[in-house]
């Protein structure tokens, strides 16, 4: 990572110097060990503070929305999940591909500061080094080596796209997907819930939703939530009331998940940023799973020219509500379209 960091900086410097781009979206380091955050570089000299470490979890693609109304050329560093997000924004017509130079960054996972704290590895921490699939936590007087997966974010453990699916230039070498990529693992949380009784499921979700403080972090961080004005902010229609009330909380979460159905890239950012630890990924993955089962495997963000599952149909589509008569009364033959 350290080596790649220098390479990244060099790339960024060159891109700015050669005016290949007007601005570089990358990360910068704050005062605390875990504190890497999005940064916007326009001057070569500022690149010194650019950082690439195990905490660059923030997805920079969504910041491209800010630039939709400018003619600036933007360089952006994208990890595997970020590249899916980028494609999704392109598919949704929100970002034009030609305004962006994508620098791909293979990524084997990002470290969850909470897991570090739980392991008490943060006491006196001065540096973290990465060595293959291990992380070395260095303090003044000792070094502790930990298998990386023990401190990676949950969302990174079963990452299917550690390498960017789209980029203009790749920095560093591609990495192998770690963890188990089997969908049965990815959807295991969903399946567990599906197997519960209706009442148990309700109890579970009621407990989850009622924790919500409506900070909208899940929505605002989501690369599929790219609307100019969110329906929840429509003060005229007021579909969502402002009160913390159970039914309003449920409305918000169901509609939020539904609105990203077929467009959710499963990056897990919503769950990560949720201050109340609501299992949003179990909501999103339910929809992904159902889409896969009903309409065929689909990974949002893989192909920006694909049709979103809810934006298309097939004559012979199955449904989840007419029992025993798939697709209605009549046989469907030739497609009109």
């Amino acid at each position: 990572m350290e080596k790649i960091r220098e390479e990244i900086k060099e790339k960024a410097r060159q891109a700015l110097a050669s005016k290949e781009v007007d601005v570089i979206l990358a990360w910068e380091k704050g005062e605390l060990w875990y504190d890497s955050y999005p940064a916007f570089f326009t001057k070569e000299k500022d690149i010194d503070s650019l950082v690439w470490d195990s905490f660059c979890v923030n997805n920079l693609s969504k910041y491209l929305l800010e630039y939709t109304m400018t003619d600036k050329k933007i360089g952006v560093f994208v990890k595997g999940c970020d590249a899916l997000a980028f494609n999704q924004l392109v598919q949704d017509n929100r970002v034009s591909r030609d305004k962006v130079v994508l620098y791909g960054l293979p990524c084997s996972g990002m470290v969850d500061p909470d897991k570090v704290r739980t392991k008490n590895l943060n006491q006196g921490l001065t540096e973290i080094k990465k060595s293959k699939d291990k992380l070395i936590f260095i303090t003044k007087d000792k070094e502790i080596t930990v298998p990386a997966h023990e401190v990676y974010y949950d969302k990174c453990l079963h990452c299917r796209y550690p390498n960017p699916v789209t980029y203009d230039q790749l920095v560093g070498e591609t990495v192998a997907a770690e963890g188990v990529l089997d969908d049965s693992v990815r959807f295991s949380g969903v399946k567990e819930l599906e197997e519960l009784s209706c009442e148990e499921r309700f109890e579970y979700w009621d407990g989850q939703f009622s924790k919500c403080i409506r900070c909208f972090a899940c929505r605002n961080v989501c690369p599929a939530c790219s609307c100019k004005q969110c329906t929840f902010d429509d003060s005229d229609l007021e579909v969502l009331g402002k009160a913390r009330e159970d039914s309003e909380d449920k409305f918000f979460h169901l509609i939020r998940a539904y609105h990203v159905a077929g467009r959710c890239i499963d990056c897990g950012e919503c769950s990560r940023v949720c201050p109340q630890d609501i299992s949003l990924e179990k909501l999103n993955r339910k929809l992904i799973k159902d889409i896969n089962e009903l309409y065929g495997e689909y990974q949002a963000g893989l192909d920006p020219s694909a049709k979103a599952p809810l934006g298309t149909y097939k004559l012979e589509d199955a449904d989840s509500f007419t029992v025993g008569e798939k697709g209605g009364k009549k046989r469907e033959k030739n497609s009109k379209r």
Partner: protein
């Protein structure tokens, strides 16, 4: 004891008058409901119909809002796939509500509370049948407490 308990529960069920909101597409299901009327078929007054041009006009928001406002069941009815007056509208309906239906079940809303069905203009009988069927099932489930806004009184 058990006798007393069951008799009170029966009484409660009797008192419960479900409210069911049905969104019907103008061309098929609404016409089907008209036909049910013209044919003097019978279904309970608990079902109240909102006319929409096409089942694809029905937003998930509307469904959830009905539940928030105390509806005990919601029905979306449209033309049979392939028969949409607008050619393809109900194909989208089918996808949209297949997902919503599953999602509602997933978060613990009883399956029978949300019904999507295809009812053509000539299926007055089916209209009445579906309405009776949904009502019967919802009746068994009792009032919708899970999605109703606590400020919306029964």
């Amino acid at each position: 004891m058990s006798v007393v308990a069951s008799s009170t529960s029966v009484k409660n069920v009797e008192e419960f008058e479900p409210l069911i909101v049905a969104f019907c597409c103008n061309w098929c299901s609404y016409a089907g409901a008209d036909l049910a009327g013209t044919s003097r078929l019978n279904y309970p007054a608990n079902i109240k119909i909102i006319r929409v041009p096409c089942s694809c006009r029905v937003n998930s928001n509307f469904v959830l809002r009905a539940f928030q406002r105390g509806a005990d069941g919601v029905i979306v009815a449209g033309c049979h796939p392939g028969d949409c007056h607008y050619m393809t509208g109900n194909y989208y309906t089918r996808r949209r509500f297949s997902l919503l239906k599953n999602l509602l079940e997933y978060v613990g809303i009883e399956e029978a509370r949300f019904k999507v069905d295809w009812i053509s203009a000539s299926e007055g009988n089916k209209f009445a049948y579906v309405m009776n069927d949904v009502l019967e099932k919802v009746h068994k489930l009792g009032p919708n407490r899970k999605l109703r806004d606590s400020r919306w009184k029964r």
